[in-house]
Symmetry: C2
Subunit: 246 residues, 2 copies
């Protein structure tokens, strides 16, 4: 399994991903799921993938090949075209592998999050479905998730707002959301990759990889757990008045 998320705010975007892959219980591996496409000063993209590693690797390989020869993500003019461009490669891999996979009972199930900005255009975060169609994160729904989404969703629902959440805060929300998922689900695992991009920056330098037991990540984890317990303790007591409905 996998957990990746992208958050967009008025100031930029945050991307975060775990690194656990597995094919059955015996083949558990570490694999970076965050892929960068950078033409500093002109355009930047971050792609994160979930689904069968073989298929998602193929999608990234094809995107990379085009990008390096000045095509695909290197040539698109808007983020919508960029998302469509990713969708085309998802469809291409689906065509290449679907028949062989399905006849042995496997599914083609690649999801991609694409965040980025092209000079002269607003930054954007998209989720691309396994069918290749893109969904844009909006002011009302400013984050997208792929993989094991549910554990890490409540904290995002409570706190992330397009207009008022700073990038700094969005980065903390992303780490907490991933930490909650790591805590509750064994198929999501470290290292955690985090990237923060401020609008019109046009480079992807503010990145960091948190390995297992990273002291900074551990500090956030511990302080968060403590704060949650204190917040529960500070809640009003639950009463059972005799005239309450039962």
């Amino acid at each position: 399994m996998t957990y990746c998320l992208g958050i967009t705010t008025k100031d930029g975007f945050v991307a975060a991903s775990d690194s656990r892959t597995n094919a059955g219980y015996d083949q558990v591996n570490v694999c970076r799921k965050m892929h960068l496409f950078e033409m500093p000063g002109d355009r930047v993209f971050v792609a994160m993938t979930s689904g069968s590693l073989s298929c998602s690797q193929s999608v990234v390989t094809l995107l990379r090949k085009d990008f390096e020869s000045g095509k695909g993500l290197a040539a698109v003019e808007t983020m919508y075209e960029a998302a469509r461009c990713v969708g085309e490669q998802v469809r291409r891999v689906s065509e290449l592998d679907r028949k062989a996979l399905e006849q042995d009972g496997y599914k083609v199930n690649v999801h991609v999050i694409l965040a980025g900005q092209i000079r002269g255009q607003p930054h954007d975060v998209y989720m691309i479905y396994p069918q290749g169609n893109p969904l844009r994160a909006t002011e009302d729904s400013p984050f997208v998730q792929i993989g094991e989404c549910k554990y890490g969703r409540p904290i995002l629902d409570r706190g992330v707002r397009f207009d008022t959440t700073s990038l700094e805060e969005a980065a903390r929300y992303a780490l907490i959301s991933i930490d909650s998922t790591l805590r509750s689900n064994v198929t999501v695992g470290p290292p955690v990759d985090l990237l923060v991009y401020a609008r019109d920056e046009f480079n992807l330098d503010r990145r960091r990889r948190f390995r297992d037991r990273d002291p900074d990540f551990t500090a956030i984890h511990s302080q968060w757990e403590q704060a949650l317990r204190q917040a529960v303790a500070a809640l009003p007591a639950v009463d059972f008045p005799p005239d309450a409905e039962r």
Copy 2:
């Protein structure tokens, strides 16, 4: 969908359930999922159900019929036997309905949480699978959930401990866990039923139903959301030192 949970601690147990049922988008109804079986002073049981309402209703009806004639839950001697007794009715309904349901593509998928105590015995919380086999909540895993479990799980993982969590706190954790699920998932809905049982009490009077916009529930919801935002704001800032791994 449904969300029910049972928490056991050294002092007793807490049970909580939502009330939304649906058969497609047009048939959304309210239905109590918490069922009480009480012989005050001698034994008490709370059963909560998820899965097809038709099947789970049948299970409760059969349990009730036996109970009222002094059999089944009225006659068992341990909580393990009580859980087995529920499992038997789950299997009976499965036998009654499985064939007809499956031939039209439906599944028999009743899960039950059974919490209770019989005089002279310790209190216990069980989850009964659709196949009828029981799983007991333990000191190490002091809660069980059925239905839409994932959104409400991280807060339980962080805070609920068999030895140290008071019943009062466990009740708040249960409400927050349900509130997180209501917030993030539209298939779980109010009213919320909450029950707190202190060991050796042998009655189920500490109960309450929170309807939509209940002022006490709303107060907990708002204070919790505020506390979470403050806790995020108080976390250490995420640094990107130049020598950090990327």
